[in-house]
Symmetry: C2
Subunit: 377 residues, 2 copies
């Protein structure tokens, strides 16, 4: 595996060589942003590595509170819960919803962390066909007695291919099941999808139904999601925004609040600053949107993908594994870094070339990527 | 909850007031160590917040490798796996051992993260009486058919009271079960217990039987443990040292390696530096040992505890909850911060006063704590 020797950004140093970098998950290009770095260093000077005690002890620190305040603002919610690793977000949600569902239905291509969370509920877990609302209904009806309450879990954006589930359809077909819950892992969506960067629910037009709320919202599924500070937002740690009652409930129930150290101070300060940057400077989200559209239009023209969503990456299977490995190597030789992943959740046997787009790629960089791909296809 | 406004250390600022601080888990006093802070800031300047891609992608970074190298050295192992949150250490171990056990037996006072890990194995889980080798054997014989292979899980040091399990006895009584595995969460032990700070196994004299190894080591249980960089070591993240084959197996099997971002660069650099400090400066571990002995001798004299182990904290139930709350408040008034926890894994209904000792407390500070306690008892 190559070793990264700079922050991930439009140019990234790997194994001593500077590459034009279309990879990773730093979709807004903030991991190396001078203000994010400065915030992290200032907090480290002031607070050291962190409180080293849980937040119900005396482990609360100002940068933690600032992340939650800024996240609440960005997501248009009353409050938020910031926790060490976004990987545990699905578990935190699923366990907080304990007692409100009788079985779990997971998309068959769900991320590992979704699968783990479903198992931890200790309720029966059933898979449904990838992104298929009809099969979802079929599985619920097959496995759940009438009146049983389903918890449906899925990725918000699937990390293998960069597709997302038909949330509108899910809401429609799930309306016949009273008390149904829908929970998505929005790690690859927050900071990217939707007008405010609120993720898949915003992009698919259902965010205003209410998300991560304590009370039942009326018809259709109650909507839940978790996000990360570690990808688009350039910081570190997991985030769940929501209404005050739900966030209080999460903090009351989650062992990650009372039984673990909070995220380290530099990660919190960096995350808080990055959230502020995204809210204060609309050109960041606009840059992501423009660049993603340009790259995907180019890839479509080359016949490499028909994915035209604003998701900031695409995983494309282009010929067989050998072909993709050769393509990957040829791009490397020409100074362009994209990823070839042989296996990942949701990928088939051949794997995929994964191309990610950063908000701070320039037009020239995008042209260089597309011209190089054209010369190879 | 109070807000911490400085690094945790012998003096710690909480809600604007500077307290003599006997709390938290920064047992070696490294969270605010100037060299740890400098290492974190330098890494942030150089690498930003981190690679924002999994380590099987292109997410490997020099500070991550340095943590693993230093941890391997401190723990006397060939290699180590460094991962985002120590909370997941038990899960990483238990899932890596999949296929090698038929049922899980957990100490009834195990930490939340142990309980979650046991559940995730999807094998039957049974509790045994706290720190009781006889009941452990009884439970295994009751629930496991002859020839069945048990995985025994426990905290290495229990965070409620600061006691630890009788590991020697466990090894003795478990020897009759072929293929038995013993896995402990050593979050509160690494950096504190044992001559090298290798934790509970070293302190109880079984470390040299071999730990976290791929191959069977002979008679008695195979020994496994996970640790943290976030407490004694002053950094952040989880750590599992082991032989090269086992660490490779962990990285091959763990979704935390292939399906999540690695720990942030400042946390990794701080952790690597703290490990180096502990190895290069024996006075740090010696200071912890001396201070812990002095505080516990004083507490014993006051009749507050009979715990005389080198564990760097003690949770003592002193009278009822109201009494402890008054005591806690009186200490606060006198400028001394200890924790009163009403509930925690392993505590009874009354909760406990928790007193933690840092390696860099001075004799005068310890005298001040004990004199103040004497005036209150």
């Amino acid at each position: 595996m190559p070793i990264m020797q700079s922050p991930p950004g439009p140019y990234t140093v790997l194994d001593g060589k500077r590459y034009l970098y279309f990879s990773g998950t730093g979709y807004l290009g903030l991991q190396g942003h001078p203000e994010v770095i400065r915030a992290a260093c200032e907090a480290t000077q002031k607070y050291g590595m962190g409180s080293a005690t849980s937040r119900v002890g005396a482990g609360e620190m100002p940068p933690l509170i600032e992340v939650e305040k800024n996240a609440a603002e960005l997501f248009g919610c009353e409050d938020a819960f910031y926790f060490p690793s976004a990987y545990s977000g699905n578990t935190i949600l699923a366990l907080a919803l304990d007692g409100q569902f009788d079985a779990v239905f997971t998309d068959e291509r769900s991320h590992y962390s979704v699968v783990e969370a479903a198992r931890l509920t200790q309720k029966p877990v059933h898979e449904f066909a990838h992104a298929d609302p009809d099969d979802l209904v079929r599985q619920i009806k097959t496995h759940l007695a009438s009146g049983g309450r389903p918890l449906v879990m899925s990725d918000g954006v699937f990390p293998g291919r960069g597709d997302y589930p038909p949330i509108q359809d899910y809401c429609r077909v799930l309306a016949e099941f009273p008390g149904v819950l829908l929970s998505i892992d929005d790690a690859h969506s927050v900071g990217v999808l939707g007008d405010h960067g609120r993720g898949t629910y915003e992009h698919t037009g259902v965010y205003d139904r209410g998300v991560n709320r304590m009370a039942d919202g009326g018809d259709g599924p109650r909507l839940f999601f978790c996000g990360t500070m570690s990808k688009a937002f350039g910081g570190y740690g997991g985030i769940i925004p929501g209404d005050a009652a739900f966030i209080k409930h999460l903090k009351d129930t989650s062992t990650y609040f009372r039984g673990s150290n909070p995220p380290p101070a530099p990660a919190a300060a960096a995350s808080a600053r990055a959230l502020r940057l995204v809210m204060d400077d609309p050109s960041i989200l606009a840059g992501s949107r423009r660049n993603v559209a340009a790259v995907k239009a180019g890839l479509r023209e080359l016949g490499l993908t028909d994915n035209d969503s604003p998701v900031a990456f695409v995983g494309a299977t282009i010929g067989d594994a050998d072909h993709m490995k050769r393509m990957h190597a040829a791009l490397l030789e020409r100074g362009i870094y994209v990823t070839y992943r042989a296996t990942y959740s949701g990928l088939g046997a051949e794997g995929a070339i994964r191309i990610a787009v950063l908000a701070n790629h320039t037009d020239e960089m995008i042209t260089q990527l597309l011209d190089t791909l054209r010369s190879l296809v």
